[in-house]
Amino acid sequence: MQSKSNWLKLSKAQLALPYGLFLVCFVLAPLIVIIYYAFTNGEGVFTIENLTGFFLSTKTIGTLAYSFGIAIVTTSVCLLLAYPIAYILARGNFKHKSVILMIFIMPMWINFTLRITALKEILTIIEGNLSFHPFLNTVIGMTYDFLPFMILPIYTTLLKLDKNLLEAASDLGADTVQTFMKVTLPLSVPGIISGIFMVFLPSMTNYVVLDMLYNSTYIMGSLIGAYFSAYDWHGGSMISLILLIIILVFTLCTNRYADEDAGSSRGGVISR
């Protein structure tokens, strides 16, 4: 009997085998391949030239700096706009909160290239020629694209926040501003972190937004695209590896603040 129940346990776990195999083949293997390509040259000989080449060339370092610039500004703008929206929706006394939230999330389900096309037409009317303000247009485009990703996780954390804590704060004599600064804001950090996660990296890499808004400056994603078009897999792998390391460092730094379900914020509305 004992052996039978063991067998049963094993067989249920075996349901995960196809997905486990799939992950090994198409998630783990590609990572190994890019590490291999990043540290070899065209003849397959080990080299660190791709790495030194990246950090010694002013062009690529400039691209890295520009990507960080775009990403930092976009993330800040998204945060400054999304926090009040999420706060009002979660804490304010509106009647149809979930409907208003849905209105903010809905654009996410319209293809982003079509949304950027729409934005481009509006910006063209306002500015006349898009090439006058490439940085500003890119930030507007990315904010327009990624704002829902920032609203959702912050809204979710604020909604979960224990109201008793706020009452306690005011009972103990804190005014509204103090309660916000000392209770609400610190407790919403996990939501802010996952929002930053969802916005920062796409802003460093989504070069389609730049292309569509006629910004010809490269960001990290455009470098991968350029290496890909030139069949230079070694250079492209090194850029990918650098981006992966940035993600890893960010994950390790924010691990202790992170929300359990940070990754699922993309589908937060549907799964609720």
Binding site: L15, F22, I34, M102, W109, L201, Y207, G221
Partner: protein, 271 residues
């Protein structure tokens, strides 16, 4: 006073968010080729959209890919989640960690690395659609897994045991007891998979056959060209997608409310 400020702020944000979409929708019903120049009413954009062969192919291709890959991802992710739920620590840690990689990774890095593995190392022919399908499944399955997992955690494990005690085989118990319990997670995972596939640009453009286009790759190419007819037909497409999204959201809310009300009634009866 406070509420007025809040309302005004929300209104401004909603307006900014929807202004481009609405302006485009308005001009899609005119015969003008540029936003700003007012012309007469016309449906020619919609006629083009539904008669031009390449646009038809692109739309059907996008939808086929989205549904096909979403079905595969849903089955794979659901089985993965159920298996991991009952597995030992190693399986949990390994699959959990690997599942997170495509979620946090930049899409262009996922696309690039998958492309050099499949096309560079394994020699897969792009025109066979294999790399495209695998790419979309890689993108979608982790999110299916993440939607199903919480439902498994909420599930009462003794129900499965009870089914076994009452004589059900493990297969029957999983099909008739476990799956119905996690069904809402499976449905939302499937819906999420479809939206991810529809919205994707990078994975598609790195792994697709040269002759195949989805909405994303088509729109990006069209904005580089200068064909006015195509450009304005895309305004019509954007409008139709917007209307479909609105209808789906309304439908979802109506059925959601109905289910909630029914659940409430049942609870009342039982009480």
């Amino acid at each position: 006073m406070k509420k007025t400020i809040q309302t005004v702020f929300i209104l401004i944000m909603v307006t900014l968010l929807y202004l481009p979409i609405f302006v485009l929708a308005f001009y899609s019903f005119t015969d003008s080729a540029n936003i700003g120049a007012i012309h007469g009413f016309s449906l020619h954009n919609y006629v083009t959209l539904f008669t031009k062969q390449e646009l038809q192919d692109m739309i059907i291709g996008t939808l086929t890919l989205a549904f096909g890959s979403a079905i595969i991802s849903t089955v794979l992710g659901m089985l993965g989640a159920v298996g991991v739920h009952y597995s030992k620590r190693f399986g949990k840690t390994f699959i959990g960690a690997m599942n997170q990689v495509p979620v946090v990774n930049a899409e262009v890095v996922t696309a690039f690395s998958l492309c050099i593995l499949l096309i560079g190392v394994c020699g897969v022919d792009k025109s066979s659609y294999v790399s495209l399908l695998i790419g979309h499944v890689v993108l979608e399955t982790p999110f299916v897994y993440l939607s199903v997992m919480p439902k498994l955690k909420q599930m009462d494990n003794s129900l499965y045991e009870a089914a076994l005690d009452l004589g059900a085989s493990p297969k029957t118990a999983i099909m008739r007891v476990v799956i119905p319990q996690i069904f809402p997670g499976i449905v939302s995972g499937f819906a999420l998979a479809i939206t991810l596939s529809l919205d994707d640009y990078f994975i598609t453009s790195y792994t697709k056959p040269a002759t195949f286009d989805t909405i994303s790759t088509y729109v990006v190419n069209a904005t580089k060209g200068s064909q006015t007819e195509i450009k304005t037909a895309l305004w019509a497409l954007s409008t139709i997608i917007f209307i479909v999204v609105v209808l789906l959201v309304i439908m979802m809310n109506v059925t959601g409310n109905k289910n909630a009300r029914r659940a409430g009634e049942i609870e009342k009866k039982n009480a």
